[in-house]
């Protein structure tokens, strides 16, 4: 019944920690091991919720890939495999530096830990830089989710649209300017700690533009050499593309909910709308008392739908899933950057030691998961031919 604990004297005072309670140990834990184990279990459970969070989108991917394989294969041609591959490499490398950083925090190599965290952060920024090239390029071409899909194969690069790249780069440029100003001020004031923080962070911000540059070079190479080929390669008959394109181009300028709906009514390939019309007609017939026996006309109507790929209701679904999956992944990268910056500052403060390296370990696990999800996204979205 009784345990040893009951007989032990009360070691933890109410307000002050006993001498055996180091500063990094929270008051409600007894030992550093208990604190570390709790954190580790906590982060693993959090990763489980993350996997389940993404599982919803993987599930949607599986359903629509199964029902419309032609759409997925056709639209995948628009994704730039080179950029995806570069990003995969960058993320894999960042996982290496992260794992190395965890090791350094355990061995108390503070300088190396800071350098490795900064390297991981820089890789994350390069990833985002490349990604913003990919996004802005597709937005410019009108390769968007079903509601805003305006791609026209006869005029893939319409003139005079918004330059999305500038808008995507703007927050990072402001960030870079801010960090550089901070660096200058802290150097002038001679604040060593702030200088030590601002120096790696300005390198990190700069790497975003490294990514943008890298992406621009690869994307433009694609445009000169293989761009038209890549687009023509898409597995869809040219005639069908023209038909769909003419439908879409009728009112190119207006983008908005109601108009989009009206436009989609003209979109013959929308099986969902087809079904709805047939259902409504049947309902009307039933309401007037007609006995409906032969429903072969429904099957005919459905099978008669032309199978173009590049229409808003078909390609739009692929791009909807593409933007949801990569967008949520990019948000996770941004979150990872946030916690990595926090770790960087703490590592410069030399908070971590042999007994207390939990936060580095946990963020490392999170970072590997974000990396792992990209490892799945890359082949599923880019490499289907």
């Amino acid at each position: 019944m009784s345990t040893l604990e009951a007989a032990e004297p009360d070691t933890h005072g109410h307000d002050d920690h006993g001498h055996d309670h180091p500063a990094f140990l929270a008051h409600h834990f007894d030992t550093p091991e208990q604190q570390f184990d709790s954190g580790k279990l906590g982060i693993w459970l959090f990763l489980v919720t993350e996997v389940l969070f993404f599982s919803g989108m993987f599930c949607a991917y599986a359903i629509f890939r199964m029902t419309r394989p032609d759409v997925f294969e056709g639209c995948s041609q628009f994704l730039n495999t080179k950029l995806g591959a570069i990003n995969t490499g960058v993320l894999l490398f960042s996982s290496l530096t992260m794992a190395w950083a965890v090791r350094c925090s355990q061995t108390e190599e503070h300088k190396k830990l800071t350098a490795l965290l900064a390297a991981t952060l820089s890789c994350a920024m390069v990833f985002l830089g490349v990604k913003s090239i990919e996004y802005s390029h597709k937005w410019g071409m009108g390769l968007l989710p079903a509601g805003y899909f305006t791609y026209n194969p006869n005029n893939p690069h319409p003139e005079g649209g918004t330059n999305w790249l500038i808008w995507l780069c703007l927050p990072f440029a402001l960030l870079l300017v801010g960090v550089v100003i901070w660096l200058v001020i802290s150097v002038v004031k001679g604040n060593k700690f702030q200088t030590a923080c601002a120096m790696p962070l300005s390198v990190v911000c700069l790497s975003f533009f490294l990514g943008v540059g890298l992406g621009t070079i690869l994307e433009s190479g694609e445009a000169q050499g293989g761009h038209d080929v890549a687009h023509a390669d898409a597995d869809h008959p040219a005639g069908a593309v023209d038909a769909a394109g003419s439908v879409v181009s009728q009112d190119e300028t207006v983008v908005g909910g109601g108009v989009v709906r009206e436009r989609l009514v003209k979109d013959a390939s929308n099986t969902g709308l087809q079904d709805e019309f047939v259902a409504r007609r049947t309902q009307m017939e039933l309401a007037t008392g007609t006995v409906v026996t032969d429903r072969s006309d429904v099957a005919d109507a459905v099978s008669a739908v032309p199978q173009e790929v590049l229409t808003p209701s078909r390609a739009g679904v692929f791009f909807g899933i593409y933007y949801c999956m990569t967008g949520v992944h990019a948000i996770h990268i941004l979150g990872g950057i946030g916690v990595l910056v926090w770790l960087l500052v703490r590592s410069i403060r030399q908070d971590f030691n042999r007994q207390y390296f939990g936060p580095v370990d946990y963020v490392g696990l999170y970072w590997h998961l974000v990396d792992l999800i990209w490892i799945y996204l890359f082949p599923l979205l880019y490499l289907i031919r």
Partner: protein, 586 residues
Amino acid sequence: MSSGSIPKGRIVRDPGFPTERENYLTTSKGVFSWLFTLDHKRIGMMYLVGVTVAFLVAGLLALAIRFHLLAPGGWLFNRPIFKSFTDKDPNDIYNQVFTLHGAIMVFLFIIPSIPAALGNFLVPVMLGAKDVAFPRLNLSSFYLWVFGAIFFVSALFASGLDTGWTFYTPYSTTTDSSVILATMGAFILGFSSIFTGLNFIVTINTMRPPGMTWFKMPLFLWATYSTSIIQVLATPVLGITLLLLIAERTMHIGIFDPEFNGDPVTYQHFFWFYSHPAVYIMILPAFGIISELISVHSHKHIFGYRFIAYSSIAIALLGFLVWGHHMFTAGMSSLTTIIFSALTFTVSIPSAIKVFNWLATMYKGSISLTTPMCYALSFIFLFTIGGLTGLFLGTLATDLHLHDTYFIVAHFHYVMVGGTLVAFMGGVFHWWPKMVGKMYNEFGGRISAALVFLGFNLTFLPQFVLGSRGMPRRYATYDPEFAFLHQVSTFGALLLGIGILVALVVLMYSLWNGRKAPANPWGGATLEWMCTSPPPFYNFDRAPVVGDPYDFEFIEWDNENERYVTAEPERKLAPGQKPEPVHAKH
């Protein structure tokens, strides 16, 4: 067993009353000492206040629904007073009111009620720990709850919400009401729920005191643990579903909206994959409370401890396999419906195991009909009806007839209100002396239990009849032949409201005029009764003695001081062993 005076030669343990300084309520003062507290007990109390307010709001909406259904053509929203400040159609008002009633009750009250309010207070104390594993995460999950609530309230004031709490597509992607605000609210509340569950799993895994093995845990902890598993595994799927719904509304990604070639049945699958397990998030902690209440107030060891513990886990796992029974009429293949129907019946096995074990616990126990026990008894009665009528709905053939009728409404209210709400109130009455350190008026408490029981049955028994006669749910008007039963139901709802009001008054009155509560007012053997009422800031002055949580052998009624104390026989000490400290402070 409580038998009167304490035999001679026993070590009496009783922590007595807390001093001003060590009592968690008075250890620090000021609003900010509450708003930024990391103490799990204070966070639990803030949750308790929050969910009670949400419950009262949603309860008033329920009364409004019932009063609209007083007359076949609709009564309340047709009154001139409504016409004077809104030009909305009365039927539209009705749609918005029942949607908000459901959404607030589910997302803001029932899901956080027992785990977040009572669980936060009790889990660390029952474990003899100082706090949960992640106190900051705990506080942030409370504030996420507050933000989620703000989103819901702003949806109410923006342009209302009339989709029903399930947000089914395609209606939710086409209606003009504020779906995005409400789904953002539900998304945020989901994270609040995930963080609470994650915190409890880690706390129970890593912070059990020495000597407390898995099978020496109180059953409330088993119930909380299985609830937390569901919260962690199911809620993220709801999160992504709602996020995709928001994307569907704003960008038309074409996953759920048939107009853009999406599939609305996919939405239903995604939604119920979370929301069916969520039903068990609502009911499992209630099972935990009832296990404690029945055992303590019968002063008898719980019958079939392991069966109750395992059945909680079994319900948590089986709950993931049955979501399709919400969609029998949504156009699934007949094979799928048969499989889901068969799996649905398996859930009834662990539920029945629990009910039988509670009955066996009471058998030959010395039952005291205290207020918590009255609530526990009405729980068993109401939950049994709720569970058995669930079998009608799990059966394919009868479900086709009963789907979307008042039969469903009555069934899930018997489980959610008759089950979860009644258990929650029983739990609040049971742990109230521990939480605030005051005893309430027993007579008033029993009156409230009786009124709630009567009012509840009067409200929802007629709805079974209404539903089986074909009255569809969610309708603002009805045929005159249903008028009598609807009016009985409305009268019952009023009675139920009065019962809840009485409970509230009794509890509030005790804050000012209640007798000081002893450490162990009921004679419980779990650890929370071993610390003072209310507990000190760090819960225990020294780590408590861990024993069988349902062993009442040494719990004795102390005639002199009128309270339960632990009185163990003196044991011979091994050489070198120090004598156990005596807790009494007289």
